[in-house]
């Protein structure tokens, strides 16, 4: 066990865990930030996507010991009031069915739009195809990314 200090959603946290513990489980089990979801544990489904220094990253395969001073943002910290343009777009388009994958989808979309604010359809498809939605809300995810790209950036 070792003590890790983590910068998450603009706040400092610390957790006493084994160095190989994936960030996902530190968030969920130690810090109570359960919005980041477990789906596969091998970086295949994207349910665990968070931002590390602004980059969309799979937290299920990221050992806590590798984070250092990097800034972590989770779905809980994407916006203060749940009103990030991507979250707004997801609501307007009424994307979720079961909702389980959507935090990861939103985190992927938010990081993508930051880099590419006016993407074309092919770019959206390429960016969003790493995240699985078992309910099949893909049409609405695609539409919501477009809707978000037409909102003023926060």
């Amino acid at each position: 066990m070792a003590l890790y200090k983590l910068q998450i959603n603009g706040r400092s946290y610390q957790a006493d865990v084994e160095p190989d513990t994936p960030l996902l489980w530190v968030l969920r089990d130690n810090l109570g930030l359960v919005g980041t979801k477990y789906g596969c544990g091998i970086a295949q489904c994207g349910a665990c996507t968070v931002h590390i220094n602004g980059e969309a990253t799979r937290s299920c395969v990221l050992p806590v010991s590798a984070i250092g001073t990097s800034k972590v943002v989770t779905i809980e910290g994407l916006s203060a009031e749940g009103n990030h343009p991507v979250q707004q777009a997801w609501d307007e388009v009424d994307v979720p069915q079961c909702g389980y994958c959507q935090a990861g989808q939103i985190m992927t979309a938010a990081a993508f739009l930051k880099k590419n604010p006016k993407p074309n359809n092919e770019e959206i498809d390429a960016a969003m195809s790493g995240n699985i939605c078992r309910c099949g809300t893909y049409h609405r995810i695609r539409e919501a990314v477009k809707v978000a790209s037409n909102k003023p950036a926060k």
Binding site: S12, Y38, R134
Partner: protein, 703 residues
């Protein structure tokens, strides 16, 4: 779990589970009931401050029932939707019937009950106002949560009348609204849980937390047909955070203080297994199918006319076989449950499609009365039928019972994919006899399955439309466990049947749609045996799909048709394939659905779109194979699910006929495989008969 102050500056949160982000998922509790809420019936209470709380009794698995049910109550109650608070009810068999998410059955079961609940409460509020104002109830109207008397201009909100109204005797046989007066039903209404979903609030079973609870993972046998020979848990027990290792039946559970610690310790278990039954491989199943296909001992499911005579005099016979593999359900949230077995009773919290089964199986396991078991349902990260079983609930119960502590039991993705209860593997043989005019005068279907029960649906179309028909089946009993998988049996049967009918239409030299319409007309005019579907509704969705897709009128695309009635709803689909650089690409699927009244346009449309994506994805890619009883795929790297860049465009249309509503969780999935395969056939002349398509030589040859 409190964290110490940070030495390095900045704000460090003293984290407390009770006050921080991860409060337990919302369920009804005493506090809610005590906040001035007045119960009008099982479904609804009105607070003196005007808050309308509508309980949704059925489990929410992504089918949108937590939004659809309250819409129906609110419609008849006549309230402002934005003032409605929706709460998931726990299992309560004294208040509710059929708290199940399965079979697309919630809406047809509850349509009248929910409307009555809303309408009854509205009448009581009107009566309370009439009493207070001393005017006849007939002069009173309502609008958006306000009771009005037009003659005097007086108004009172539901909240102001709630106390008086709740004391009145509930009227019986209340008149329900005319469909033309609906304000909510038929609108596009958003998922009531959007806000917590989109901000990452705790909602799902896996998010549940109870102070002092332990985490558990269970190691199940490595293959179907194996049992435990010996367990050496010494290394696992010595690992950090591990509280105990316990054994029950053929399972070993590692219990500890965090998910990661128990996962790692489980990897350190040394468990030896030995053979306990047949260790079957996929190659064995293929051989068994071939043997059973010609077995004389099949169970006859339906027999009309003289099928042998019809085949003897046939001008042409068409015969084909179709086969599907096992499929895991793969909900994004793997199986998990919270259980606390106490001396005085059991508390269960988690994702279940059948809370009553969870309760009853728990009671049976522990030898206690079911009324000692409480079940709270969390939102589910999908289910697709997997959570109709209670095996994973019992994993949690067993562990909590053994370690005498509250336990959250979690399956990894690998556990989930290898945990059985699969969609059964099935092979079908279809035979059709055509007369010289191309009429189908005889039809035979044999279904052979592995733990599939009856793999046919003997009364489904074209039964009733063919004079001489024989449908029979044979089931092979296997150690590989199976269970309902979204649109059980029909998820593949529809593909096979609708592909075969395309083959028959082609052999008869007829247009595939006209061929089916002719059969449906026959089922109406001179039915053969019982007809257990509504041929007119089949015809209506067929014509709507054909009209919207411009069937047979488009250049540059190849169209394939498919039609299916399942779970009380009717769906026709037309797939469109275009050739791009010499390769066929599925560009679009048109869907025409008849589920009667559409409760929520947004939810209903997405159920159809999601069902089509699901149907196409599993038809294309889904493949679970076995080697000596062990599943050969265990996670999404080797078991492929469809992704966003692989979906076709989808257009959805509803038949507007005002018939009482039926469900949509399943009916859009069954027709999709054939809409795709029939269009691919049109484009390439290659017939796909087995799933997944990507493993078919015919498919490999066109890509």
């Amino acid at each position: 779990m409190k964290l110490a102050a940070s030495a390095g500056g900045g704000l460090l949160l003293g984290f407390n589970w009770l006050s921080a982000n991860a409060t337990p998922p919302a369920v009804v509790d005493e506090a809610t009931a005590a906040a001035g809420n007045l119960d009008f019936n099982s479904y609804l209470s009105i607070a003196t401050d005007g808050t309308i709380t509508i309980l949704s009794p059925n489990p929410e698995v992504g089918q949108g029932i937590k939004t659809a049910f309250p819409i129906i109550v609110a419609e008849e109650l006549d309230v402002d939707w934005t003032k409605v608070k929706v709460v998931q009810a726990p299992l309560d068999t004294t208040k509710f019937e059929r708290q199940v998410a399965g079979g697309s059955g919630s809406i047809p079961h509850s349509w009248d009950r929910l409307r009555q609940a809303g309408a009854t409460a509205r009448l009581m509020l009107m009566e309370a106002a009439a009493n207070r104002w001393k005017v006849p109830a007939s002069e009173i109207t309502t609008d958006k949560g306000v009771v009005m008397h037009k003659g005097s201009g007086r108004k009172l909100s539901y909240g102001e009348l709630a106390q008086d109204a709740a004391k009145l005797t509930a009227p019986k046989d209340v008149k329900l609204k005319d469909a033309k007066d609906y304000k909510l039903i038929g609108q596009s209404i958003k998922n009531v849980d959007n806000k917590p979903i989109l901000t990452g609030q705790p909602l799902f079973g896996i998010d549940f937390h109870r102070e002092g609870m332990l985490y558990a993972m269970v190691q199940h046998p490595s293959a179907f047909g194996m049992k435990i020979k010996s367990v050496d848990a010494s290394a696992a027990k010595a690992m950090p955070g591990i509280v105990d290792v316990v054994q029950f039946k053929n399972n070993v559970a590692v219990v500890g203080k965090s998910t990661w610690q128990v996962k790692k310790a489980r990897e350190a278990l040394k468990v030896e297994y030995e053979k306990d039954g047949d260790l079957e491989s996929t190659s064995d199943h293929n051989r068994i199918f071939t043997e059973l296909m010609d077995s004389p001992n099949a169970t006859v499911r339906r027999k009309d006319g003289d099928v042998e005579a019809a085949f003897k005099k046939a001008a042409k016979v068409v015969k084909s076989e179709y086969q599907c593999p096992f499929l895991p359900h793969s909900p994004m949230e793997p199986m998990n449950f919270f259980a606390h077995v106490r001396p005085d009773g059991v508390e269960l919290v988690g994702p279940t499609q059948t809370p009553e089964r969870a309760r009853n199986e728990t009671a049976k396991l522990l030898g206690i009365s079911p009324d000692k078991v409480t079940v709270e349902m969390t939102r589910m990260g999908g289910g697709f039928g997997r959570r109709l079983a209670a095996d994973y609930v019992l994993d949690a119960v067993e562990v909590s019972n053994l370690v005498k502590a509250p336990v959250k039991m979690i399956w990894t993705r690998e556990d989930d994919m290898n945990g059985g209860n699969y969609r059964p593997s099935v092979r079908y043989r279809f035979e059709a006899a055509l007369d010289a005019q191309g009429n189908m005068i005889g039809y035979k279907l044999r279904g052979v399955g592995i733990n599939a029960g009856n793999p046919t649906r003997e009364d489904n179309f074209p039964s009733g439309a063919v004079d001489n028909l024989l449908i029979d089946s044979f089931d092979h009993k296997s150690p590989i466990t199976t269970g309902p998988w979204r649109a059980p049996i029909t998820n593949f049967l529809a593909f096979a049947e609708q592909s075969f009918l395309d083959e028959v239409a082609q052999a008869a030299g007829k247009d595939p749609i006209q061929f089916r319409l002719d059969l449906l007309e026959k089922a109406k005019k001179s039915p053969a045996g019982e007809v257990k579907y509504d041929a007119d509704r089949m015809i209506a969705v067929t014509k709507l799909a054909a009209e919207k897709a411009g069937w047979g009128k488009k250049k540059g695309v190849h169209q394939g048709f498919s039609l299916y009635f399942s779970h009380r709803s009717y769906v026709a689909q037309i797939g469109e394939v275009a050739m791009q650089k010499g390769k066929p690409v599925v560009k679009k699927i048109y869907a025409a659905a008849d589920c009667g009244v559409v409760i929520n346009q947004s939810g209903a449309r997405q159920q159809i779109m999601g069902g089509i994506v699901d149907g196409m994805g599993h038809a294309m890619y889904g493949n679970m194979t076995f080697k000596n009883g062990a599943p050969e795929q265990e996670n999404f790297n080797t078991y492929k699910l469809i992704r966003l860049n692989e979906i076709p465009e989808i257009d959805v249309f509803f038949v507007d006929n005002g018939i009482a509503p039926t469900g949509l969780g399943e009916p859009a999935l069954p027709p999709t495989g054939a809409a795709v395969a029939n269009a691919l056939f049109k484009a390439t002349n290659k017939r796909l008969r087995n799933q997944p398509f990507v493993e078919e030589d015919a498919y490999k040859s066109i890509l």
